[in-house]
């Protein structure tokens, strides 16, 4: 029996904790949108998804559009979550998604279609892993980066 050593550490983000079901709902919508990007080859749709990622990544998870949709349309039909998860790793994963969706949009719109397809496919794999298995690649990266920062400090 013991307490974690870092229990008193201040939170790095002001975002309130998230309903994990909402996170997976958002990942599911993201998967569908990215699948449509691959099938249609639409750079503008990829750009729209990049904006969705940007809202969560830069304004905060409260403003993430799919999260707002979940809170308004889905959450009221469900009971309260059994537990909540920290927002910071999820927010970081939105930043990673933003980078991939932006590269994908630039690729499609500039005629570098292969770049568009590859970047979109990477983002889709990550979103699908989160939606279907609850495994958040970006959150794993966040953990490793936080460790690397701590090791340097």
């Amino acid at each position: 029996m013991s307490a974690p050593d870092g229990s008193g550490a201040p939170a790095r983000s002001t975002d309130p904790p998230l309903d994990p079901r909402g996170v997976r709902f958002a990942a599911g919508l993201t998967t569908v949108v990215l699948a449509l990007v691959l099938v249609s080859g639409s750079g503008w749709l990829a750009a729209a998804q990049a904006l969705v990622f940007a809202a969560g990544a830069f304004a905060g998870m409260r403003f993430a559009p799919y999260g707002v949709l979940y809170r308004l349309a889905v959450a009221p039909r469900l009971g309260p979550p059994a537990e909540r998860e920290a927002a910071a790793p999820v927010r970081f994963s939105q930043t990673v998604g933003f980078v991939f969706a932006t590269v994908g949009a630039v690729g499609y719109l500039s005629g570098l279609t292969v770049l568009g397809i590859v970047a979109t496919a990477f983002a889709l794999v990550a979103a699908f892993l989160n939606a279907a298995f609850g495994f958040c690649l970006g959150c794993e990266m966040y953990g490793l980066l936080a460790r690397a920062r701590a090791a340097r400090a």
């Binding site: 870092g6 080859g41 397809i117 794999v125 699908f128 298995f133």
Partner: protein, 145 residues
């Protein structure tokens, strides 16, 4: 319509499904490890076994990690009811040296050590309690140290 895009979509979904199934199968499973040459967990954490303690369950966590809290719940309960088990949780942000010494990349990872500090088992993710109990049973039945 993009034929290439459709092929890539199906390939990406197949790949992600395969990766997801592997991760799910591994998650929480208790893997017995030989521990040859691995460092002594008691020494790494500065803990020493008390009289009855046969096993150290060293949990490596990070500050923002929901499964780490669930793992702490499972292991804390085990340690509270089983006097032979000591549970120590460390934050890899505070002690990256421990994570490095034990080659741990993911949190939560739980590593079991016997009284002599030899590594017994590893669990990535929230441990499956029944598997953990079964893996620890030989140690806790008072095997000569």
């Amino acid at each position: 319509m993009s034929g290439t895009g459709l092929v890539v979509l199906l390939a990406a979904l197949a790949l992600a499904t395969a990766v997801g199934l592997v991760l799910r199968a591994r998650n929480g499973r208790v893997r017995t490890t030989t521990g040859a040459g691995s460092p002594d967990g008691w020494a790494l954490t500065g803990a020493a076994p008390d009289g009855a303690e046969q096993v150290l369950l060293l949990q490596l966590s990070s500050p923002v990690c929901t499964p780490c809290r669930q793992t702490a719940g499972v292991l804390g309960e085990l340690a509270a009811t089983e006097p032979g088990v000591r549970h120590v949780e460390i934050d890899v942000a505070d002690r990256p040296d421990v994570a490095r010494a034990l080659s741990v990349m993911r949190t939560p990872t739980t590593i079991g050590f016997d009284r002599a500090g030899r590594e017994l088992l590893r669990v990535s993710g929230v441990p499956r309690r029944a598997e953990l109990d079964a893996a620890l049973a030989p140690e806790l039945r008072g095997r000569p140290a």
